[in-house]
């Protein structure tokens, strides 16, 4: 016997969490875009999507975020931090790759100092993940040692029942356990079978990829030029990625008052590495593409012991010129056959 959340009690579930002080965010499709937004009713949720186009990262590390307000009067400088308020949030219907993405980024934001802007949100969020029963041509979680039902980064795991009537519920953390409190009367005991998870083929050999990238000779390989020739250098693969985390600090305002903001930045952009002198150490798209791959499957692992990719496939799914990371990693796998 396990606990079951019946689908027809989802609205009661949302109401219970809301009255316990949580905002409930779930996949919605609005203005021709799928993303996580606050919902009040289950009918607004788009739970049948393979994956939302935007990631839940947006709600922890927004594309633009105020850091401090400043004002300067004669010899006085007044600064005021703009740390986000503590807000209890449930993310319902997250996919395992997006949940993993948060866990992959945690060490980065807590490494040399604790980034309060990230952790205020992380510490107050409960991630309720639904295991995937469908996938598409671009999903690749199984290639990066994850799977359609991996629990990394999740507080509660829901596994769809075969008969479609609800989900089997498993709490994975204290936060997850606590979240089940307000809905304990909604959950029921049951032994219904769970649906089989999506079968996602392994698309490359991540160990071979890591070994090749770690070889110093690979850095100057002609391979980078060949693979990146059609990349137009937009930022969409990085901006839609659940683990990409680079940002730029910008002041907006005038000499006397303004706001300092943290804005997404991308290693695909030439400006990312442009020096004040005008020299650019990564002055071609091939060197920028190499950086993206090296960072994800070599440097990040070196520093934090984990690859910076959760296999969501978005970078390939939406690339305007049909590039993305999968094919590069397949090509590297084949290089080392």
């Amino acid at each position: 016997m396990t606990r079951i959340l019946p689908k027809n009690r989802l609205d009661d579930c949302i109401a219970a969490w809301r009255s316990a002080g949580f905002s409930v965010l779930a996949p919605v499709r609005r203005s021709d875009l799928s993303r996580f937004e606050e919902v009040e009713r289950s009918e607004d949720m788009a739970l049948d999507l393979v994956l939302t186009e935007r990631t839940i990262k947006d709600h922890f590390f927004p594309q633009t975020e105020p850091l401090i307000k400043y004002s300067i009067k004669k010899h006085d400088i007044d600064t005021q931090e703009m740390v986000p308020p503590e807000r209890k949030r449930v993310f319902f219907g997250v996919r395992p790759c997006d949940a993993s993405g948060l866990a992959i980024d945690d060490p980065l934001f807590g490494w040399d100092y604790r980034d309060e802007y990230w952790f205020k949100r992380r510490d107050n969020a409960v991630i309720v993940t639904i295991a995937c029963t469908t996938s598409d041509d671009f999903c690749m979680c199984s290639s990066v040692n994850l799977s359609p039902d991996s629990t990394k980064g999740s507080d509660v795991m829901l596994r769809p029942l075969q008969n479609g009537s609800g989900w089997q519920v498993e709490a994975l953390s204290d936060r997850g356990n606590a979240l089940l409190g307000p809905i304990s009367s909604i959950l029921k005991e049951g032994s219904d079978a769970t649906a089989s998870t999506a079968s996602v083929p392994v698309r490359f050999d991540v160990d071979k990829v890591m070994a090749w990238l770690a070889d110093p000779a690979s850095f100057e390989s002609h391979f980078w030029k060949e693979i990146s020739v059609r990349c137009i250098g937009c930022g969409s693969c990085t901006f839609l990625c659940p683990t990409c985390h680079c940002f730029d600090i910008q002041d907006e305002g005038d000499t006397y008052t303004g706001i300092r903001r943290k804005n997404w930045d991308s290693c695909s952009f030439p400006m990312f590495t442009m020096h004040t002198s005008g020299h650019n150490p990564r002055n071609t798209q091939s060197t920028r593409w190499r950086q993206r791959i090296m960072h994800k499957f070599n440097y990040y692992r070196g520093k934090f012991g984990v690859n910076s990719c959760s296999g969501c496939g978005r970078c390939t799914r939406q690339c305007p010129v049909d590039m993305g990371i999968t094919e590069t990693l397949q090509a590297i796998t084949n290089l080392t056959k």
Partner: protein
């Protein structure tokens, strides 16, 4: 011999005689439906070239890759009429020498590919004349009219909602053959003229700047619209701009390499309806 085979063998001929150093065409993509840009340098590689109804991208963007044409050698490229119009504009704006561009022209009608006669941009003047006479896309016009019917305030809300989705990934700019500035105004940062923040105001700034810079230059290839990862209907902005210059100045972007840029020229008889 189908058009794909015919163009493959002609491309192989051009490469083996040295008439062109590179052929930019389409190849198979990561799924059955997808087509992607391919770069062919040897006759043997022309086998990779594919031409079918999925080949919709405007590949002229790649001709402006830094240094590609600076050795004076020629490059062949697969282009639909919209792409050929891009070549004319780029020539008119002194961004390339059209003599260096060999065109494998084609058009897609109801999913079927049809060859277009000619090899140089100027050979396709009749095709572009026909396109101009046919007028702007009726389909887009219909979509645009839906927006014209609502009030200005509602229209503003519509665009606010759409632009609020923008993440400033600049895919629309990068894919566009007309967006060739080596340093886009939004990347000029000493000082930072345009905020980099992608809040709604910043997104308005970006999309309005881009619309103005594309007025009378956009060839409606749809590249930006297809590339936008958050599905902003950029086609409607482009269409509106194209309609304005057509109605006001009888201007259809990219008619020929000698056409003067609409916003950089004037005629004595230009309408002055907007001047009080």
């Amino acid at each position: 011999m189908g058009i794909q085979e015919q163009y493959r063998s002609e491309a192989a001929g051009l490469l083996s005689s040295g008439a062109v150093k590179l052929v930019i065409g389409f190849g198979e993509g990561s799924t059955v439906e997808r087509r992607r840009p391919v770069f062919v340098r040897t006759p043997a590689e022309t086998e990779r070239l594919v031409l079918d109804g999925g080949c919709v991208a405007n590949l002229s963007t790649y001709l402006l890759t830094e240094g590609l044409l600076s050795d004076g050698k020629s490059v062949a490229v697969f282009l639909k009429p919209d792409g050929i119009r891009s070549i004319n504009i780029l020539a008119a704006e002194a961004q390339l020498n059209p003599e260096q561009v060999v065109i494998f022209g084609f058009d897609i009608e109801e999913g079927q590919v049809r060859a277009l006669e000619g090899r140089k941009a100027s050979d396709f003047a009749p095709v572009i004349g026909v396109a101009k006479a046919a007028g702007l896309s009726a389909e887009l016009q219909k979509e645009a009219e839906l927006l014209d019917q609502i009030s200005a305030a509602e229209r503003f809300e519509y665009w606010k909602d759409q632009f609020s989705k923008c993440i400033k990934c600049y895919a629309c700019r990068q894919v566009c053959p007309m967006c060739y500035c080596r340093r886009c105004i939004v990347d000029v940062n000493q000082p930072q003229w345009v905020n980099t923040s992608s809040h709604t105001l910043g997104n308005f700034e970006w999309n309005i700047v881009r619309a103005f810079h594309l007025a009378g230059r956009c060839v409606a290839c749809g590249g930006c619209d297809r590339s936008c990862p958050v599905n902003i209907p950029l086609r409607l902005i482009n269409h509106r701009m194209a309609k304005e210059v057509l109605d006001a100045f009888d201007y259809y972007a990219g008619e020929c390499a000698e056409q003067k840029p609409v916003l950089a020229t004037f005629r004595q008889d230009d309408p002055e309806t907007f001047i009080l």
